[in-house]
Assembly symmetry: C2
Homo-oligomer: 289 residues x 2
Amino acid sequence: MRFRRVAVIGVGLIGGSFALALKKARLAGHIVGAGRSRANLRRALKRRAIDSIAASPAAAAENADLIMIATPVSHFPRIFSSVRNKIKSTAILTDAGSTKRDVVAAARKGLGRKVSQFVPGHPIAGAEKSGVGAASGDLFEGKRVVLTPIRGNPPARVRTLEKTWSKVKAKVSTMSPREHDEVFAAVSHLPHLLAYGLVSDIAGRRNAKQLFGYAAGGFRDFTRIASSHPEMWRDICVANGDCLLHELSLFERRMKRIRSMLKGRRARALEKTFAAARLARDRWLKGRA
Amino acid sequence: MRFRRVAVIGVGLIGGSFALALKKARLAGHIVGAGRSRANLRRALKRRAIDSIAASPAAAAENADLIMIATPVSHFPRIFSSVRNKIKSTAILTDAGSTKRDVVAAARKGLGRKVSQFVPGHPIAGAEKSGVGAASGDLFEGKRVVLTPIRGNPPARVRTLEKTWSKVKAKVSTMSPREHDEVFAAVSHLPHLLAYGLVSDIAGRRNAKQLFGYAAGGFRDFTRIASSHPEMWRDICVANGDCLLHELSLFERRMKRIRSMLKGRRARALEKTFAAARLARDRWLKGRA
């Protein structure tokens, strides 16, 4: 299994790593990149993540056997429309968007009947760094990739994509777009929102400088994800707003209970809550190792 | 400057690291340890963090020139009372408690007139690991230590303690106990509470196993501090409840604003908030490096 020509639209951390990983696993012949930033594309060329630069997503998609869209999801509608008449009938389209219901809706609208060639995907390999400079051919090793196939996807194409991700050592699973968006609202989107919220909160204080001066390792790790790409997270928040608002409500309900323990100085209840959280987290870490 | 005899009461991560750091800097003659867990004290002896084990805090304090109390703060009242009649008049007492107003109140009550010998302190070098096994003689290098001197402390003793911390390469600063508790409620206690809250929230779901299954690196770092010592954090929450509740309210107010951006799908406002948070965090990290 080898793709003669691969198009990567959006050659950032994820797109660039996908290109490098395909090359490492010898799965790609020629890789063409497209994107907004010429400087970034030139860096990608220099790093040999891509072999050539296309003038537009449409030009990149032409004749490609595999097309990966890895831009912020707000660009997807325009990209789908522009590649619609360029993709060949045997091409597989996929993406790396962090939300899936909106991506599927955009694909239906932009690709029309060709939507059956589109197999949505989400590699869980984000980082607070962005750009092809942070990309790595090992990025997906041991990481999860969720595919959310849609009605009409030929099973053979879904399998080809699954195998491709497996060959770059990712752990592939499938679920529905809705289930995907619910799960990631809880374990990814909400933590990002809270981290951004805490840093905003501190940064907005009159004594922000003093406060940051005493922030230490715990604060650094808790807020690491608040250094994530603002545009990407804006898109995630808009696309997955309903699930995220639901998660925020559940979290607030939990914090309300903790608040009442604090107010009542209920030491045992607090300790029990903390101990249960530590146990759950430690079990999770053990299971991952 | 050298302490002939040092007592460390509570030889865990902080107490053990303090002992190791004093030895490394050749500031201590004999170090005696006291604590609840014999097994932990034996480990401390084996690691040469301490030179002998005392049967009780009072026995450890007797004849000591420097006494470091590094147990969870809920044990402080009992410890202060028990050492009161044992400490010599030239001894310096200090502590490593994460809250300071409650510690000062306990010291006044437990030590009586001898409270002037007590110079409260807080090394900002916590970790989610606990016990002497995680201790290290380098733990305080480049880390901050806050002293919160109280009325009656002889300035020379405060200076001696400052110098001691400086010799183990900590960055020492001083503030009032109230200011300390306010600052750390914001940059340490609240993040811990939120991390515990998020893990509790996820762990309490029917589909907790599935959710944890898709949690990745962002979640791991965000929740690292939810693996912290439950007893210690219980004490911090009870001791600093008023400041922590205030911080929680400020955070909730910020989240309410973010919630309304989400609800209104106000993409630009979200992106602006995220970009400002990222900028503030990146500036902070740069300033620390």
